[in-house]
């Protein structure tokens, strides 16, 4: 199997360790990983904030860069949902029929990491070992747009040495929402405070998720409070092996 890694601009710049872990997990399972260097950003921030004309060139770029691959994998449910669920709407805005066709063709080939592993490769045990107490936050876009379901949890349940604890009201949004966290900072903070309370209630050392954007939000709040609880992307837990730190 050969896939293109869609790293997302966010992970590329801020969380390179998540990208490295994604490559490691995929290669461990025998997947050949390609990284097209011409990729930049899917345009989600622009599109969802209303700067939709500005997002169109990014949509075209994405389709040009990834159009030739049979499968595209990204360690971000949110960016994948942009491509799969909102690109058709973006293409409609241009009135460009050819773009709309290419978007429809590409969409079903773009996968979030956990759904690619569980639903495409049929793997739930990636041979990971992570001796920590961990709670999992199912991010909104993975859950409700991509409908990845329990795929991340299935993977986590098979991680050796890990104490996986359930989160109360897991499906409630953490309050990130892209520019929402800045534009409606107060409401976002109110949502975050409840999510943090629930994370702390689990007494976990680490909160994980399939999206670094949500984790940056939850982790940013935890760090500000010096709560002593970390955030780690799902890919990094799956990449951890016995004998590592």
């Amino acid at each position: 199997v050969r896939v293109a890694l869609f790293i997302t601009c966010f992970n590329d710049t801020l969380f390179p360790e998540t990208g490295r872990a994604t490559v490691e997990v995929l290669e461990r399972l025998g997947v050949e990983v390609d990284f097209p260097l011409a990729q930049t950003c899917c345009g989600q921030m622009h599109f969802n904030t209303g700067y939709q004309r500005e997002a169109i060139p990014l949509v075209r770029r994405f389709v040009d860069v990834f159009g030739g691959y049979d499968a595209v994998v990204a360690p971000s449910g949110s960016c994948v949902s942009m491509v799969r669920e909102l690109y058709p709407m973006a293409a409609d805005l241009t009135g460009d029929r050819r773009l709309a066709e290419r978007v429809d063709e590409l969409g079903p080939k773009v996968f979030e990491l956990s759904e690619f592993l569980v639903k495409k490769l049929g793997v739930t045990d990636v041979g990971a070992y992570y001796p920590h107490r961990v709670t999992y936050h199912p991010t909104c876009h993975s859950l409700r747009m991509l409908k990845v379901g329990d795929a991340p949890l299935e993977l986590l349940r098979n991680v050796g040495g890990m104490d996986l604890v359930g989160l109360e009201e897991p499906e409630e949004c953490c309050g990130f929402g892209g520019t929402f966290a800045v534009k409606n900072a107060d409401t976002s903070a109110a949502m975050l405070s409840d999510k943090i309370r629930r994370v702390l209630d689990t007494e976990a050392e680490v909160c994980t998720a399939g999206d670094n954007s949500c984790l940056m939000h939850i982790g940013g709040g935890l760090n500000r409070l010096r709560a002593g609880v970390g955030t780690v992307h799902l890919a990094q837990i799956l990449a951890s092996e016995m004998g590592e730190g």
Partner: protein, 488 residues
């Protein structure tokens, strides 16, 4: 708590959502009341829906029916007019709120009525009917318990279905003691409702004109339907000799059979009940036999709805059957309450309906599509499958395009607009993008302290008000890839 009645549907500007939310978010009593109420109803709804084997099929049927209505709205409305007229009612057409109010006031005046009784109706809140009637010397008594509470308190509704959701029992007890003169009132729900009942019975018997909204109206038969929980609505629609119903034009449904779908979807979604307690249907006038009005007027109001209909993506907002499930699951609504939306339509549905009904280009309503983290919980529960997140994103696009194309220099040189344009250019060129990554690494140094960023300037300060930011690491992913794997 909001005590003046001006909102998005009144003349003049309203505050933005983020400004109003700031105030509500600090109100601990409000947070407690709302949190408890929405979490309870949310759980009950989930149970009521879970027991339906064909819920997804029903949702799909509801959506399809509503879309058919919108596709042939002109036909169904004319058919409705014909059916109502045949049954002895009179149909009035109102282009906007002002016209609707004039028509209703004229009917009340024609009957020399200085007092009217009202069934809970959001359409009349949209037109600000009560205030209009008051100016015309006619007092409107709200008879829905929660609407009565709101009216006595001089406040506005904060929820589509439970207008007084922001108030608890003790607050209502105090209010009734003061306004209804019930000195020894306890805070037991049965005592509170008894006090309201004694007060309202008198009004029902005395009023010559009753005013209602409508949940549905059947084109085929001319039957109007009101769905409520208390029976006070039925008093209004049966006791006064004259009944006036104000209805948004999108509320028409094709045939009587369609109730099969909506009467299953609505109660379970709104109050988590299998069946609704009081569902009133009436067709025209009662004639000489039985209870019911001798004169019936149906006012069909546009007030911006045909503009919504013209928008291919936005028009699904007109599918709404006002169940309020989206409010109850919304993490934003749960924390800010309805008043922050400055509209008679709060919550997720209000965030897509209000700006469309009043038109883009007003700072208050324009802020509403941004009052969402796009978590999608609303879409998941909507009984007629309105893709609220999609419409929110679509409307954000309209708001930004309006600012860019028709805004003044202040909007064109808005820092956000400039930043977004710049970033978009950076992302459209991999070389520029890589240079920007290196620039971020160097540029962040004044803000990094002890391995994290605790304070950012300008609008980004919203982030660092309660969150730290992780600094940009030394090596990007693409840097690592190039170093270890060569080129792509």
């Amino acid at each position: 708590v909001k005590t003046n009645f001006s909102d998005a549907f009144s003349p003049g500007p309203t505050p933005t959502f983020e400004m109003s939310a700031r105030e509500s978010l600090s109100d601990s009593q409000l947070r407690r009341n709302l949190g408890k109420a929405t979490q309870t109803i949310r759980r009950k709804r989930a149970v009521a829906v879970e027991e339906m084997p064909d819920w997804e099929g029903l949702r799909e049927a509801g959506r399809a029916l509503k879309e058919r209505v919108l596709r042939h709205l002109d036909t169904y409305l004319l058919q409705l007019e014909e059916s109502v007229t045949r049954a002895g009612g009179k149909v009035h057409w109102a282009r906007d709120a002002a016209e609707a109010n004039r028509i209703i006031a004229q009917i009340a005046r024609d009957h020399g009525s200085e007092e009217v009784v009202k069934v809970k109706s959001i359409a009349t809140d949209e037109t600000k009917l009560n205030e209009y009637l008051e100016r015309e010397g006619i007092h409107a008594f709200e008879t829905d318990l929660a609407e009565l509470i709101i009216q006595l308190a001089g406040e506005t509704s904060s929820h589509i279905l439970v207008p007084a959701i922001h108030k608890n029992r003790a607050e209502i007890q105090e209010l009734f003691k003061e306004k209804l003169g019930a000195k020894d009132l306890s805070d037991e729900p049965s005592d509170l409702t008894e006090a309201a009942r004694l007060y309202l019975r008198e009004k029902f018997l005395g009023a010559k004109v009753g005013i209602s909204g409508a949940n549905f109206a059947v084109a085929e038969t001319g039957t109007v339907c009101v769905v409520e929980s208390e029976g006070n609505g039925r008093m209004c629609t049966t006791l006064p000799p004259v009944l006036v119903t104000l209805m948004g034009i999108e509320k028409v449904i094709p045939s009587w059979r369609d109730f099969e779908v909506f009467m299953q979807l609505l109660p379970r979604s709104s109050t988590a009940e299998r069946m609704n307690p009081y569902t009133s249907f009436w067709t025209g006038v009662s004639g000489d036999v039985g209870d019911g009005p001798q004169e019936f007027h149906l006012v069909l109001m546009d007030n911006g709805r045909t503009d919504v209909l013209a928008d291919e993506i936005g028009r699904q907002a007109l599918n709404c059957i006002r169940c309020s499930a989206c409010l109850n699951v919304c993490p934003v609504y749960e924390r800010t309450g309805g008043h922050a939306y400055n509209s008679v339509y709060p919550g997720p549905i209000g965030a897509i309906l209000t700006p469309q009904l009043v038109g883009i280009g007003n700072p208050g309503p324009d802020s509403l599509p941004y009052a969402s983290s796009l978590c999608g919980a609303c879409y998941q529960v909507c009984p007629v499958k309105i893709n609220i997140p999609q419409v929110l994103v679509h409307l954000r696009g309209k708001v930004v395009r309006h600012k860019q194309d028709e805004g003044g220099p202040r909007q064109k040189f808005d820092p956000e607009n400039i930043a977004m344009q710049t970033v978009a250019r950076v992302f459209s060129d991999p070389d520029l993008y890589e240079r920007a990554q290196r620039f971020a690494l160097v540029g962040q140094w004044p803000f990094v302290r002890g391995g994290s960023i605790g304070r950012l300037p300008g609008r980004l300060a919203g982030w660092t008000s309660v969150r730290d930011l992780k600094p940009v690491p030394e090596q990007t992913f693409r840097g690592w890839w190039k170093q270890n794997r060569g080129t792509g």
